[in-house]
């Protein structure tokens, strides 16, 4: 009986391992690099995580000689956390008038919704311009660090041209930790 249970356990573990490996294997490692992140550049880093982990991220960049600007403190919200304009759309459906009026008001609300996104993107771009001009930041680094079976990823944006300079999707390995992922991504954007 004990032997049957042991075999069952082993088969289950092997199946679990195969499934996990397959889910990991389905994630592709992709990378593009147009320009290396120059040594001693002024960078602003966006990373959404606990404060102790944020510190690990910042320390990694600092220890590699980059000048890290004090950004990434109060702006790690999601759009919906700040201003959920979707509620306005729901209100628009509640209008009781004839069909033409409803359609027209829905169009108004849809247009407000569209302009909200455009304006949001413009505001971000204006903030980035300010970052560059007032804070002397040359590059914006965006990082999302994930656990095993998920994909960590990053982007590097040149604030002079507003262009994406580097991108990588890095499927996190079983033996990775936050430091090894950071070593890999920083090395990749620096062209090492």
């Amino acid at each position: 009986m004990k032997r049957i249970v042991s075999y069952g356990l082993i088969v289950s573990l092997i199946s679990l391992f195969i499934i996990s490996s397959l889910s990991c294997a389905s994630k592709k490692n992709i990378k593009f690099s147009k320009k290396k992140l120059p040594a001693r550049s002024n960078v602003a880093i966006i990373y959404d995580g606990e404060n102790n982990l944020k510190n690990v991220v910042l320390v990694k960049f600092l220890s590699k000689g980059y000048n890290v600007r004090a950004f990434n403190s109060a702006d790690l919200y999601r759009l919906s956390d700040v201003f959920d304009i979707k509620d306005m759309k729901k209100i628009s459906y509640g209008l009781s008038a004839d069909e033409g009026a409803i359609l027209s008001m829905q169009k108004s609300f849809s247009n407000i919704y569209k302009l909200h996104f455009y304006n949001y993107e413009i505001n971000k771009a204006e903030l980035l311009t300010e970052l560059k001009n007032k804070w002397k930041v040359n590059y914006l680094v965006i990082l999302d660090l994930k656990d095993w079976t998920h994909t960590s990823w990053g982007r590097l944006i040149d604030l002079d041209s507003f262009e994406i300079m580097w991108i990588e999707n890095y499927p996190t390995k079983y033996n990775d930790n936050i430091e090894t992922i950071l070593d890999h991504l920083i090395g990749s954007m620096a062209g090492k």
């Binding site: 994630k27 592709k28 992709i30 593009f32 147009k34 966006i46 959404d48 790690l76 999601r78 759009l79 919906s80 979707k86 008038a97 004839d98 069909e99 033409g100 009026a101 359609l103 027209s104 008001m105 169009k107 108004s108 609300f109 849809s110 247009n111 407000i112 919704y113 569209k114 302009l115 996104f117 455009y118 304006n119 993107e121 413009i122 971000k124 771009a125 204006e126 980035l128 311009t129 914006l140 965006i142 999302d144 994909t151 990823w153 982007r155 944006i157 041209s161 507003f162 262009e163 994406i164 991108i167 990588e168 999707n169």
Partner: protein, 347 residues
């Protein structure tokens, strides 16, 4: 023959008529193509153009066409006459009276150097949507060439892909993408463009992720720009902001605010949006050439596109039903961007 069947089905899909009702051929009514030149010598073209488009489309599709003279005859029963110009909100009534599934009308303006500008409106009664496009090309001595050119645009748009494109988008252009993808999926989408030497702007790439789902991005399907638009028709006459005996100062203030909101975001939306697009263009220091909205379905296997040229703030590319995974969809887009329209542009 297969080609004809295919495009007939495409037309039925465009009209949103279920295939089971396919026995009744759809009706396409034609208004005038008004002469905008101020020169009476061109007046004869006001009916020649629509009649030619009607014949050309009749030869391809299994449809009933009603030419301007026929439309006028029907409208006479209602003590009305076919006008040279219509406001979009007048079209539903016109289509209803003429029993038309589609109504086409527009205007033309002869330009210097033997060129002509044609503006066409194509209204679909089923979807209540109006597709407007402008075509500038040679004023052909053989009118059928010009008719073919416009018919090609209509055919492409009536296809299931709803394809419309005015110009290629060359590599080295800087593009801002607005999509409902995020995180590593967005990176996967960007890579083929970057590898093809397009410059991808930080627009929407500069955050960890926006929460835009499949439903929300649909709102961006309607698009209204200076020369080309694809938009829902609304009737401003039906929008009333009522005031009466018991309305006080505070209520009047609220009503005025609501009316202002409506004017800004419906009646004069194009002006409002142009101001926003101009601000966007300036913020990016004129470096972002195109803004491309790409809406994916929830499984990321099907996408649609709207592209605005930020310099002249015009819709230049529309397409739907692009299938594949994220990378395949990006590669199909790139192929289309490099080729531009199927036809070579007129010189």
């Amino acid at each position: 023959m297969r080609y004809l069947v295919k495009i007939s089905i495409a037309l039925l899909l465009f009209l949103s008529i279920p295939i089971v009702d396919a026995e009744a051929a759809p009706t396409m009514a034609f208004g005038y193509l008004a002469n905008n030149s101020g020169d009476d010598n061109f007046d004869y073209l006001e009916t020649i153009f629509p009649n030619s488009f009607a014949n050309s489309l009749k030869n391809i599709f299994d449809i009933n066409v009603v030419k301007p003279i026929g439309v006028n005859k029907i409208l006479k029963k209602y003590k009305m006459k076919l006008e040279k110009k219509y406001e979009p909100f007048e079209l539903p009534e016109l289509a209803e009276k003429t029993n038309a599934d589609l109504f086409i009308y527009g205007n033309f303006t002869p330009l210097p150097d033997g060129r002509i500008k044609i503006l066409l409106h194509l209204y679909s009664e089923r979807s209540k949507r109006l597709f407007t496009f402008t075509n500038v090309g040679r004023m052909e001595t053989e009118i059928f060439r010009l008719v073919d050119r416009i018919t090609d645009i209509l055919l492409n748009f009536m296809d299931t892909k709803r394809f419309y494109m005015t110009q290629p988008i060359v590599p080295s252009s800087q593009i801002g993408f607005f999509t409902n993808l995020k995180s590593e999926d967005l990176n996967e989408f960007y890579i083929p463009f970057l590898n093809s030497k397009y410059r991808v702007s930080s627009f929407q790439a500069n955050t960890l992720g926006d929460d835009i789902d499949e439903d929300n991005i649909q709102i961006f399907k309607s698009i209204s720009t200076r020369d080309n638009s694809y938009d829902t028709i609304t009737d401003k006459r039906k929008v009333k902001f009522l005031t009466g005996t018991w309305t006080g100062e505070r209520y009047i203030k609220d009503v005025k605010a609501a009316r202002k909101l409506f004017q800004k975001h419906d009646l004069y939306y194009q002006k409002t949006k142009n101001a926003v697009l101009h601000r966007l263009y300036k913020t990016y220091k004129g470096r972002m050439d195109y803004l491309i909205v790409v809406g994916f379905n929830s499984r990321h296997t099907n996408a649609w596109i709207r592209c605005i040229d930020l310099k002249n703030k015009n819709l230049i590319w529309m397409e739907s039903n692009i299938t594949g995974d994220i990378t395949e969809i990006a590669l199909k887009m790139i192929d289309r961007m490099k080729k531009g329209t199927d036809k070579k542009p007129d010189k």
